[in-house]
């Protein structure tokens, strides 16, 4: 047992997903509490610069696997590298962000290593030398405390936007080692044919502000004022299941039990009644504003500020007001 904490750094074409830095910041505390080192694992192609960044964000050292087969995330080659490193170096804890990718990589590695996994955690602590984790279950309606068995490393994924990105220290230095890819291209069954990026759209997952529309927007055109308010706030547009099922906006916008779970600083619900399945996806937003014609709508029980009125009057008024305040 090394007491070391390994963190996988989720990157795409050299850009690190902020969830990796959030996780690294939390992992720094875990490593200090365990009395071990914090080690960043960077996998990709031409990503050596990221190792120094990871050290600036708090890692003691970094291990790079730089290989064409690791250019974009694929489950089998990424899991093979992490499995090999865990077997060779015996970290006590292996952490990563609970992005969609982290949520498939962590259980795969856990199964290969035959170790325990606590996914989508909102807290991790060391109690008398033992790791414990806290995570929501039943789509946020129950909070479970997780304890681990003897097998190590304990695998933990951390939910997005729960912990802050640490302040990088440009003077921080640490050892950078490299390791080989495990699988040759011929041994990797899955090939990536293309990525249709969601261009110009702010991702719901890491949005600071989300403006969502529901049944009350009445149709696809009704999302125009919702999108306009999201745009002026630099936020993303969300939707309730009712609006998605009606075909007004694509499924990628759906917030809730069968959509995305989001945690923005501000969530503005426009014409959304607040079904329990929708609340499951957004009720941990730091500030919730509801605009709805129906004063009895359940969303008002969860909102900090409410406006009882027609969204087609109030949403454009708010957009205009904010445009005036924020300039352009």
């Amino acid at each position: 047992m090394s007491n070391n904490v390994f963190v996988w750094i989720d990157q795409t074409e050299g850009a690190v997903d902020s969830i990796a830095w959030e996780t690294l910041g939390l992992a720094r505390n875990v490593a200090d509490d365990l009395g071990g080192q914090l080690v960043a694992l960077v996998l990709g192609e031409n990503v050596s610069g990221l190792a120094e960044q990871a050290i600036q964000y708090g890692a003691d050292r970094a291990i790079i696997a730089d290989d064409p087969t690791l250019k974009s995330f694929r489950l089998e080659p990424y899991a093979a590298v992490l499995t090999k490193l865990a077997q060779e170096q015996e970290p006590t804890v292996l952490m990563m962000g609970a992005s969609n990718i982290g949520l498939e990589l962590a259980p795969y590695v856990a199964a290969k290593l035959d170790v325990g996994l606590a996914p989508s955690c909102i807290d991790v602590a060391v109690e008398v030398g033992k790791l414990t984790a806290t995570r929501p279950a039943l789509v946020g309606n129950v909070i479970a405390k997780i304890v681990f068995g003897e097998a190590q490393p304990h695998l933990v994924t951390i939910r997005r936007r729960v912990f802050p990105v640490p302040e990088p220290d440009p003077t921080r230095r640490g050892e950078i080692a490299s390791t080989e890819a495990v699988l040759a291209e011929a041994d990797i069954p899955t090939k990536i044919k293309g990525l249709e990026a969601a261009i110009g759209e702010v991702s719901l997952a890491d949005a600071k502000v989300i403006v969502s529309g529901g049944r009350g927007v009445g149709g696809p055109e009704g999302f125009a004022p919702v999108q306009a308010l999201a745009d002026i706030l630099g936020g993303a547009m969300g939707a309730s299941r009712a609006a998605v099922d009606a075909g007004w906006v694509p499924y990628a916008h759906q917030v809730g039990q069968t959509g995305k779970t989001v945690q923005p600083d501000l969530y503005i619900a426009c014409g959304i009644s607040g079904a329990i399945q929708h609340l499951a996806g957004m009720k941990t937003a730091k500030l919730i504003v509801a605009i709805n014609k129906d004063p009895e709508a359940p969303i008002f029980k969860y909102a900090h500020y409410g406006i009882v009125g027609d969204l087609f009057d109030y949403v454009p008024a708010l957009t205009a007001e904010l445009k005036g305040r924020l300039g352009s």
Binding site: P119, P136, E196, A205, K283, L287, V308
Partner: protein, 264 residues
């Protein structure tokens, strides 16, 4: 094609109310439904069978009453259903669950695809399908929104999966495990004939002994994580502040508040 669809029975979150909270709902006696994601997995399996021929087997690990979820699967159009149920399985972690499912899949026989929903809403771990793939050592494609070319003869599959950065097109080899998101299809309603057939069906139940496990290998003894404490999430203290006035007046007040809260 031999297709196995993983089905789970979960608490019905539509029952949540001021008198029924998450802990009460998790209680074994609470109302249960087929996991909402699994209907999309079943529909995907049934469509593949309609296109390529073959058989859809719905496989569920759960309490004895989970036969109800399997009857829903049969009513939708699954050809066979198998329940894995054993008191020793209570409080198994995701990896034990996956290990038992993988053993059952191997017992069912050669398969082309295992299809699961993205997640089960009770544990919400998103782990089971991925771990089944890892244990069976077959390719895994998660978050599938479109199944394009599935060729059982050439043993190839191409699919579009939803990732946070967009829509990723991938190809891989069969047999494979996939997990689906709801964009993939519109699940059909059970037909009248399907419901009658399902109501008469006898669903075999496999114990852990049938799958070659001993009690110490499953449940808490075989698991690497446990959840000794379950609590309700902290209740929101916020009481809504209703902002009155004309649209322009309300917008001004709300903008002041958002700026004061340093959110914009």
């Amino acid at each position: 094609m031999n297709i196995i669809v993983l089905v789970k029975q979960t608490p019905d979150t539509a029952q949540l109310s001021s008198s029924v909270d998450g802990l009460k709902l998790l209680d074994e006696s609470g109302p249960k439904v087929i996991n909402p994601w699994d209907e999309y997995a079943l529909e995907a399996g049934i469509q593949l069978k309609e296109a390529h021929g073959g058989k859809v087997t719905a496989l569920c690990l759960g309490q004895p009453q989970a036969t109800e979820a399997l009857k829903s699967a049969l009513a939708m159009g699954a050809d066979e259903a198998i329940l894995i149920s054993d008191p020793a399985l209570t409080d198994s972690d995701s990896l034990v669950t996956a290990r038992v499912l993988a053993a059952a899949i191997t017992k069912i026989g050669a398969f082309d695809m295992v299809i699961a929903g993205r997640s089960g809403i009770a544990g919400d771990t998103w782990a089971t399908a991925v771990q089944v793939a890892a244990l069976l050592d077959v390719p895994q494609i998660s978050y599938v929104a479109e199944l394009n070319a599935v060729d059982p003869a050439a043993k190839t599959i191409s699919a579009v999966r939803l990732v946070e950065g967009g829509r990723e097109s991938v190809s891989s080899k069969l047999p494979a495990v996939i997990s689906v998101v709801k964009e993939i299809n519109e699940p059909r309603y059970p037909s009248f004939i399907g419901i009658r057939k399902a109501s008469k069906a006898t669903i075999p139940t496999w114990s852990i002994a049938d799958l070659g496990f001993e009690a110490g290998q499953v449940g808490p003894a075989g698991s690497q994580v446990q959840w000794p404490e379950l609590n309700l999430p902290p209740s929101r203290e916020a009481k809504v502040e209703i902002i009155e006035g004309s649209p322009a007046e309300a917008a001004k007040i709300l903008a002041d508040k958002l700026i004061a809260e340093k959110i914009v």
